[in-house]
Amino acid sequence: MITKQSLEINSHIQIAEDTFEVVLQSSLSKELKPGQFVHIQLPGHMLRRPVSIANVNPEAETFTMIFKIFGEGTRNLSKYQAGEFLDVILPCGTHYPIEDLSLEHALLVGGGIGVPPLYYLGTKLKEKGVKVTSVLGFQSASHVFYEEKFQQLGETFIATNDGTYGQKGFVTDIISKLDKPIDYYFSCGPTPMLQAVTSQLADQKGYISLEERMGCGVGTCYACVVPLKADPSKNKKICKDGPVFPANEVNLA
């Protein structure tokens, strides 16, 4: 059940340019599913900040999140240290419904801060024996993180916008050269990337995870909606009905 907890920071380290990995202690850790997010209160900020769950350690009762400094809130978050506490609402939102899918080979497509939730998803897929191929996009070499960890899950390709690492260009450039038969793709990243990926993979089944500015984060305020493809006069709440949606359900335009 969704709860507000004060969580101790077990570790807080920088893993790439402007990018931090935070491990939090929570009794709810084992209930957290890939694709879900937590909603974090930061002193001096009116609204909470949504951050995805990047991994879970059920034995230690910890979970990991990875964030990049974007504005004042994430800058504030970057200054925390191990031993300090964060006020967090969790778990928020829906998850990638992998338990219900018949899957042999999954393609993970992540861009920037969309990469973290896919890592947790990948570990769960691997546990299930699913073959995982990952295509990850970053701004430049200094922003790349978790490459080795993804490689432990399966074949991993990196693209950087400026070509300072991996392939120069976008994740779609890599995907177009992949000719592996996949059952489902799972994608998370900036909306332009999701638009490109969903149209590139239009005849594949897949799930995407969306971002939108949020108020409550729990489904009461209607801040975070996305129109439905079938009927754009209807919409769903990203914080509650999402952030994970079947790729063909929502209208990204």
């Binding site: 969704i2 507000k4 009116m46 609204l47 108020g215 409550c216 009461t220 305020c221 209607y222 919409n235």
Partner: protein, 305 residues
């Protein structure tokens, strides 16, 4: 220490209720606490038909506040009666419907339709929603239109009608008097101040609707001033006060200004336990400042001269 307050149609066990639009229809926050703890619940605005609302982004953060331009998204009054209100009827907490519309006819239709529900105690007539293109805000800024819609809704409704005032006016007392003349049972104030924030990277307003309603502690001084002014002019009208309440001290400040009860909006987003925590702290705060009940504090911040 008595927290109870009695207002037209509302026997409140305490004066604290979530504000319209900041609590949905109660389901989500019922996961966090027992809704029986609340003085009342004001639900999200209802319109005649389902409304999609505005494009996103719909919210932005400001210094000690936020902007929103939800645009009255709601499933329409019929669905609200059928699907949303019954859930709330299981709690021993009065429910106030918030009604909105683009035309006087729509307001009246919503009010009439709500008569069918047995799950309500009062109506909050939202003549002040700044985030819908047609209608909404003019009703809240033109005393004659405000009078007309209040009068007609009052005629149509079986419930006491609290008229929710917009702060975006030159003279709040004129607006208050107009709706009270037209039969309002009470006032609800304040709605949001119209504001804007510009995204420097995108060189455009952050909110897709361009302007949004400013809420949160930033606007509390404006809310307190307006309630104080209206209470000076209209000594008996029940007022539900709101605008930036975060703590039990804030509640007391609103009571002193002249509010009979209060609503908590934006604070719920920051802390889903905001309402029950404020209610739990209220007795201690009242006695710290020398009051033995909520009723005793109402209007006590007024000085003469």
């Amino acid at each position: 220490m008595s927290l109870a307050v009695t207002l037209p149609g509302l026997a409140l066990k305490n004066p604290v209720m979530p504000a319209s639009g900041c609590f949905g229809f109660g389901k989500e926050y019922s996961q966090f606490f027992d809704l029986n703890e609340l003085g009342a619940i004001i639900v999200k605005a209802a319109t005649g038909e389902a409304r999609y609302g505005n494009p996103t982004p719909r919210v932005a953060e400001t210094s000690s506040g936020m902007l929103n331009a939800i645009g009255l998204q709601n499933p329409g009054v019929d669905n609200i009666i059928a699907d949303e209100l019954p859930f709330l009827s299981r709690f021993d907490t009065p429910v106030i419907a918030n009604i909105a519309g683009s035309t006087v006819e729509e307001y009246v239709k919503v009010a009439e339709t709500l008569n069918k529900s047995n799950d309500l105690s009062a109506i909050e007539l939202n003549i002040s929603c700044p985030n819908v293109k047609e209608g909404g805000v003019q009703f809240g800024t033109d005393p004659e239109l405000a009078k007309e819609v209040t009068y007609k809704v009052k005629q149509a409704s079986n419930y006491p009608v609290y008229v929710k005032l917009s702060p975006n006016v030159t003279n709040i007392t004129t607006m208050a008097k107009a709706v009270v003349d037209a039969g309002a049972d009470g006032l609800s104030m304040i709605n949001t101040l119209t504001g804007m924030q510009i995204n420097l990277k995108k060189r455009a307003p952050i909110i897709a609707n361009k302007t949004g309603g400013l809420s949160g502690p930033a606007i509390k001084p404006v809310a307190i001033r307006m309630i104080y002014e209206v209470r000076q002019a209209l000594s008996d009208i029940p007022i539900i006060g709101m605008g930036g309440i975060m703590t039990a001290e804030d509640v007391l400040e609103f009571l002193l200004a002249g509010a009979n009860a209060v609503a908590v909006g934006t604070a719920n987003f920051q802390n889903p336990h905001a309402c029950p925590e404020i209610i739990a702290e209220l007795p201690g705060i009242l006695s710290k400042y020398g009051f033995e009940s909520v009723e005793e504090a109402i209007g006590k911040g007024h000085v003469h001269g």
